[in-house]
Symmetry: C2
């Protein structure tokens, strides 16, 4: 995945940064997270059901933990909406999640608020808040898909 | 509650706008919400356990519903952190919630990401994302406090 900065509009680039986040998440790609996130002490991250994390070091560590404890993960961002206000981009979306850990397959839907800051090198993530959406279908999967 | 704009710093005013939000919520004060929120079609609001709401009309309606169905509500914002990036203010906090509806008292802790946009008339709310925090103590209350 390469970033086509300069070819796309500002808003397209913001949407693209959001896509890169989910791609890095699915790929367990810590180097891509390093590149995408702003390495600031005030960035924040709230994973579904977690305590709020503050500062890039803590946020990075949380991705390391998730990558180490998850067998595989697919996240599809749907209902993506982006708003650009000056140098800040607000992206909200639903996350359709399928993940494997142990012998089970989990399904979940989450809401996400993702904030990006415009820099000379492109949009950098500064905030991720994801939480379980009401239509939750998380369950152990051990039957036949009909 | 009056807004001491001009006396306080930019960041203090942002924190104050956040306080006004929780005060309006506790007071079931729709007029204060009208004043605080930006009346834009792209503002968003995610209440804990709700679907994402989009546009001021939908957001306003949700507060009407909450105010109509809740007997009383106390929300204390703790661990408040604010970041100002250009004309956008990011406030994150924990919400310590006590509420009454029917015969029960509910207790809950939520994480909130609140976004405000700077205008000539002060900070206006454009995004509220609140979700249940892991340390949740929601339970019907029907005993003696010891």
């Amino acid at each position: 995945v390469t970033t086509p900065t300069g070819i796309l509009s500002d808003r397209d680039n913001l949407r693209w940064a959001n896509e890169r986040f989910y791609h890095a998440l699915e790929s367990f790609d810590l180097a891509a997270m390093d590149e995408l996130w702003a390495h600031e002490p005030w960035v924040q991250c709230i994973h579904p059901g977690w305590e709020a994390l503050r500062g890039w070091d803590e946020v990075r560590k949380s991705f390391e933990e998730i990558f180490a404890s998850t067998r595989w993960l697919r996240v599809t961002a749907t209902a993506v909406r982006e708003v650009v206000l000056g140098d800040l981009g607000i992206v909200s979306c639903a996350e359709d999640i399928t993940l494997g850990g142990g012998d089970d397959v989990g399904l979940a839907v989450a809401h996400a608020t993702n904030l990006f800051r415009r820099t000379h090198a492109g949009w950098r993530m500064v905030h991720h808040h994801a939480s379980a959406a009401p239509v939750r279908v998380t369950q152990p999967f051990s039957g036949t898909v009909q």
